[in-house]
Symmetry: C2
Subunit: 216 residues, 2 copies
């Protein structure tokens, strides 16, 4: 593997493990047993590394949330979207942790992330529309759909922070992907009141699969 790619991979790994704030460029170089000079040959600075990782993350999520327009949406699709988005959050989990600082230090990232958010919100809205078309949920006025999509986004992107801050005992690093995916339970909670009788039971059963094992 190319050194450049190794740097990106190691950075992501260390960022996820210890948090971006606690990982220096020297740490990354040491972890790879390369020199700092070598690292700085491949990247102008730390922000550049983070920006590149963001581009990967963005590409992944954009790929998952590419909603096909030509066919109607099934419950399997919905499950796939939810699972995929939480997989993405997991793989790049350092990112949302220090988001505000990262955006403050890199305007290019700020702009791209804002667009990314809006694209995600658009996809969520579209999923709601197609769920209504498919008869899974009752159709709702556009205003409500927009506000609901935003709430879904808030729950999805901040579920991990909640787990890390409210749940974990002494350190926040023993979080598992399984626990993270209990966020799907929370997201589906938002949709309960809008389910059609035809699909109610199926969706409730789906939701049940993600119920947290230990109640808070």
């Amino acid at each position: 593997m190319k050194t450049r790619d190794k740097i990106l991979l190691a950075s992501l790994e260390l960022f996820n493990e210890r948090g971006e704030r606690n990982v220096t460029t020297n740490h990354i170089a040491a972890h790879l047993a390369i020199s700092p000079g070598n690292l700085y040959y491949h990247f102008r600075n730390k922000s550049d590394i983070i920006y590149e990782i963001f581009l990967e993350y963005e590409k992944l999520v954009d790929f998952y949330l590419d909603i096909p327009e030509d066919r109607s949406l099934t419950l399997e699709d919905l499950t796939f979207y939810l699972e995929s988005v939480f997989d993405g959050l997991w793989s790049y989990r350092f990112f949302h942790r220090d988001l505000e600082y990262l955006l403050d230090s890199d305007n290019r990232l700020r702009r791209d992330y804002r667009d990314f958010t809006n694209r995600c919100l658009g996809s969520i809205r579209l999923i709601f529309e197609k769920m209504a078309e498919a008869g899974i949920i009752e159709p709702q006025p556009v205003d409500l759909r927009t506000a609901m999509s935003l709430n879904v986004w808030l729950v999805i992107t901040n579920w991990m922070a909640f787990l890390k801050t409210a749940h974990a005992a002494e350190d926040s690093n023993n979080l598992t992907l399984t626990e993270l995916k209990q966020g799907i339970y929370q997201v589906l909670t938002l949709e309960i009141p809008y389910l059609t009788p035809a699909y109610r039971e199926q969706v409730m059963a789906l939701r049940e699969q993600y119920r947290p094992s230990l109640p808070a």
Copy 2:
């Protein structure tokens, strides 16, 4: 005012303005035109300052969210709770920004914050119960109420981060309390499907007061 209190006040102000990560103890001392030595006479370290500020925040929110058991809940109460919580979030807005890092650096804070979260979740659940008792919303099974309370908490505590990362153009510092309180619109969105016919219109009108002026 005592130097100790001035340090706490200046720290809070600087943290809110620039983010905890960008504010050093030397900055705080310089801002107050006192020596670093003086600052360290009053506080053992930076974590201690942050912990003290958290205790204030905690006290404030606990005070606001002290739900009276002996009388039923009105819409005015609900408005008060929502307004107060967002006021608190505003006054201590640095806190949720770097939350994970702060908790990782201070186990005492981690424990206290976890308890604080659970108390808040309890209060939200209680508010839901009392709203049902008052006939504002339909009563719901306890499981659903718990999951809903958690979603409310997620929306409340992360609304600001959303505004700062997705909304603001070039820097995230031009956020106003008014914009922050549009979070109330999002919170009330969660409750719409559960409103009783008797209160539906009133709550919808209340929600309307917080509608964002410019749609995203």
